[in-house]
Amino acid sequence: MPIVANDDVVRVRRLARELAQRCKLSLVDQTKFITAASELARNTLVYGGGGVVRVGLVRGNGRLGALAVFEDSGPGIPDIDLALTDGWTSGGGLGLGLSGARRLVDEFALDTEVGRGTTVTLVKWAR
């Protein structure tokens, strides 16, 4: 699904909710996954200048998980450690989106190259 406008963030959230429910995540984990997806969708839009999100179910260790991959071909992140620091923002936000999203999910992978773009992968496992 493409992320190009503000409305798409809402659509990503709905998509994440459906996926989380299909994985039978608990209510708390559902909310966490949805919130993390919402943060990253907004990052993709605001900092990445738009991109795409792919979602799906993953299986591992006999568990089911919700997966979301956010991809943009924006400016990339020059300093990953700094970007993942609480309270640091290059825009006008609270500076908790990226670091907060990492705490909300079980697996978090950030792949970025300056000038090429950023890919963030989220997984939340069902318990």
Binding site: R13, T31, T35, S38, G97, G100
Partner: protein, 284 residues
Amino acid sequence: MVAKQDGSARLLKLLSTGEQDLAAQWITQVSAGLAGRISRAELDRELNELFTALVEALRAGGQDAHGEELSELRALLTELSRNRARQGFTPSETALSVFALKHVLEPVLEGGTKDDVLAYLRLSRLLDDLGLFTIETYTRAREEIIAAQADQLLELSTPVVKLWDGVIAVPLVGTLDSARTQVVMEKLLQALVDTGSEQAIIDITGVPAVDTQVAQHLLKTIVAARLMGAECTVSGIRPQIAQTIVALGIEFGDIVTKASLADALQLALKKAGVEMISPAGGRR
């Protein structure tokens, strides 16, 4: 000019071979594609009008989908596309009304002369353009509907209610984006002035997810209300939202939060100096 006239005449001939037959087959095709979601009588009327308009346009020498001769036909197609969009048909189902005519005409190709084939190709190009036109109109109609709905949502979902003398509440429902928060903030601040309230409760029971942007919007609204001398309480924080906020690391600082609207109201009343006494005489 002569060649153009000639071309139109041939197209016309193509359509008028068994005119009634063609129109009837066309209607059958379209009606099959729509799976009976439009009554046969209505479809009959619509398509017969279209057919007549097409024949008329060709008779007038029109060959260009955007030309003047076809304006009548375009008006009919616009109406058709808009209706389809409102009734929830897909773009393919809408364009089918035009493209089905090509299918119906196909048998003409078999055993037709070279001129027939040429005429078919020309007509087919015209129908392609008209098909694209219907899709464009359809999309525009859909966009208008969506924009209208977004406006309605903006209006509908932000009531400011007075709970008590000096206590107002904003029950928030749905997604808080920048545009909506702006409306909420304006309404809340205006209501503070209008009612002279000093206590405001923002209830987020109906907000499905609180992410950093929503939190930031909330914080800004509260700070603005404080600048006007009002105290704000955030209520309706459900357990899963609370855990998410903690994990995200959002600090609500010294802002008072409550689990339910009832708790928040009780607090607000206490701050406003209202004492609640139960009929039995005990105090709450």
